[in-house]
Symmetry: C2
Subunit: 359 residues, 2 copies
């Protein structure tokens, strides 16, 4: 196992070469680290700012061994990392952070909500179903409407649908893939918020101000941060973050999506064991952004400050919206971040902007 | 010639793979550009965060041709780029910024001061001497003491010495290398200041607040920014920057070192046609730092805002001072930047910190 804190000049491995890996690599570079990316696609966004890239599948033992030779510590930019990959890296003497428990919980929506409730963190009511008939029975027990989602995979609104009547449940089960599902009671929320938090190897916790998030077609469109929330709401969110981080014995940055209910109660919608799109505002609104914070945590460094020094509106640039770069670059209040993706497919996250206002 | 403004996804070439090249590459990455480094050493600090590296001498036509194939626009991190390299790249259809005039002026201290005075910018009195005897005559004409410097090369206080008596001039001439020199009248300055400024391809100018600089043994130790200066001093500095940038038809960021004289008059000590160590404070004190500003300028993008949002003390980490990284990383007011250099030779610039206070 590597000596921690990890000295500058060491190499940090990242599973995944997309924009989150790229922004992590840029942050690691600022701190004097080298980065090694493992990613199936050659020439990925993160690879182009990293010292090393291993091109291979995430579960390819040869590729993982190559990564383990390069890197002292490995992290990841997406939660669907195969559990076997983490085990293999660990067996090769590489520390993987966040750890296996966080991944297991984040990969299965039933395990996630079960874990959250067990840690004392409220969520919507839910049930699991492994067959069309079981789905029908569960909807009958919960009452319609319910939101049906595949237990595993699916993101940005994919693999989910509303079941409006009990009788529709079996067809919905087949429509989302005929695989095990979770059924979630509707959350009659006022707003969607999120909190980005970090936990260091020493158990220390750092929490950013809340963001208020707006989705379109299941994809994050805008975040406003710091969100205007009551002291009680902020305290609730910080308590939730601390409970989750502690219960997972977590190391790194986590994104926690919250529903704010009428009356102010917060429910956790989902957790992402990684840097998070709703934390991109920290790149221009905080002294230490979520990417540097994550690198600090996985490297065993002390966590940095999390207070905001500006009010930020973060806007994702989807598909050909990024072609407005010249106009956006000319707006004095706008900081622009582009991911180096060559093909602007519709809805693809090509970059984001942070529009700043004084606090 | 490439279409400007240069679209994201394009490749920007950088001559030089040291820390300035590295921080330029990180800034280019944030904007969605790829970077190609040309540098004689393999595995240089900038190469490890760049998509491409051409390992070769700066004046090697094969290496330059390879760089020209990769990059639409080329810039540099040091002012001693051979003029022939710029000519060769230009002949291959690559735009080099800043241009040949800025380089020529910055490479020869006599040309530099002659240019400055010609542009209406005050400097200390000076004379040129090409021989030991000419040096003696010049000192006799100016009066001792004078500061003798080689006309070309020399940085961080190397290749210079004080001549206290007329009779010492010939020996001093031999001691600094027996090559053409400049003799400078002493500047009885109150403070050393600097101004970091940028000029875009459209002729637009952006100027950062002044920094107050403290050197030790000829090497920058600390900068304080924004420096506490009078409105008149700030206006003088901005006027000087505008005169220099305009007269050079400059594109990019320039560092202008100033002497503040008793009574407030500013003299230009020297100019550096590149991002500058006294501008590192902008990385944490401004929304758009000098590195992104330089990339914006050479890419033909609009320049970004330059106001400070914090008061910064920048401290260079020289030699093994960088080994205090763990302690420094734990200071909440301190942002740490490390350059990924493996060997901490005495006096070598290994990184810097920016300590922040509210404005």
């Amino acid at each position: 196992m590597p000596a921690l804190p990890l000295p500058p000049g060491s190499t940090i491995g990242i599973l995944g070469g997309g924009q989150l890996g790229r922004m992590l690599a840029l942050a690691a570079g600022r701190l004097g680290f080298d980065v090694a990316i493992l990613e199936p696609e050659p020439n990925a966004p993160a690879s182009r700012v990293a010292a090393h890239t291993v091109v291979g599948a995430y579960d390819d033992p040869t590729a993982l061994a190559e990564l383990a030779k390069l890197a002292s510590v490995v992290t990841y930019e997406f939660e669907n990392v195969p559990a076997a990959a983490v085990e293999h890296l660990t067996s090769l003497g590489v520390q993987v952070a966040p750890g296996a428990l966080a991944l297991a919980v984040a990969q299965d929506r039933v395990a996630e909500k079960t874990f959250l409730n067990g840690a004392g963190v409220p969520t919507v009511a839910f049930a699991a179903a492994d067959s069309a008939e079981a789905a029908r029975e569960a909807v009958a027990a919960m009452g319609a409407p319910v939101l049906m989602k595949t237990r595993r995979e699916g993101y940005d609104g994919k693999g989910q649908r509303w079941v409006e009547h009990i009788a529709d449940a079996p067809a919905a089960f087949e429509a989302v893939g005929g695989k095990p599902v979770i059924l979630e009671a509707p959350a009659d929320f006022v707003r969607e918020l999120s909190i980005i938090a970090a936990r260091g190897r020493d158990g220390g916790i750092a929490v950013y101000p809340l963001a208020e998030n707006h989705h379109e077609k299941g994809v994050l469109r805008r975040s406003f941060a710091p969100a205007e929330v009551s002291k009680d709401t902020a305290a609730q969110a910080e308590r939730i973050a601390a409970q989750i981080l502690g219960a997972l014995d977590y190391v790194g940055v986590i994104g926690i999506e919250l529903f704010e209910m009428q009356g102010g109660k917060l429910l956790v919608n989902e957790i992402a064991p990684r840097v998070h799109n709703t934390g991109h505002w920290t790149m221009d609104g905080c002294e230490v952004d979520q990417f540097e914070q994550h690198i600090r945590a996985v490297a065993g460094w002390p966590l940095g400050p999390t207070h905001a020094h500006a009010r930020v509106e973060m806007l994702n640039l989807l598909g050909d919206e990024a072609s407005a770069w010249a106009k956006l670059a000319g707006e004095p209040e706008t900081r622009i971040h582009l991911y180096g993706k060559h093909e602007a497919r519709p809805g693809r996250k090509m970059g984001h902007i942070n529009r700043l206002r004084p606090l």
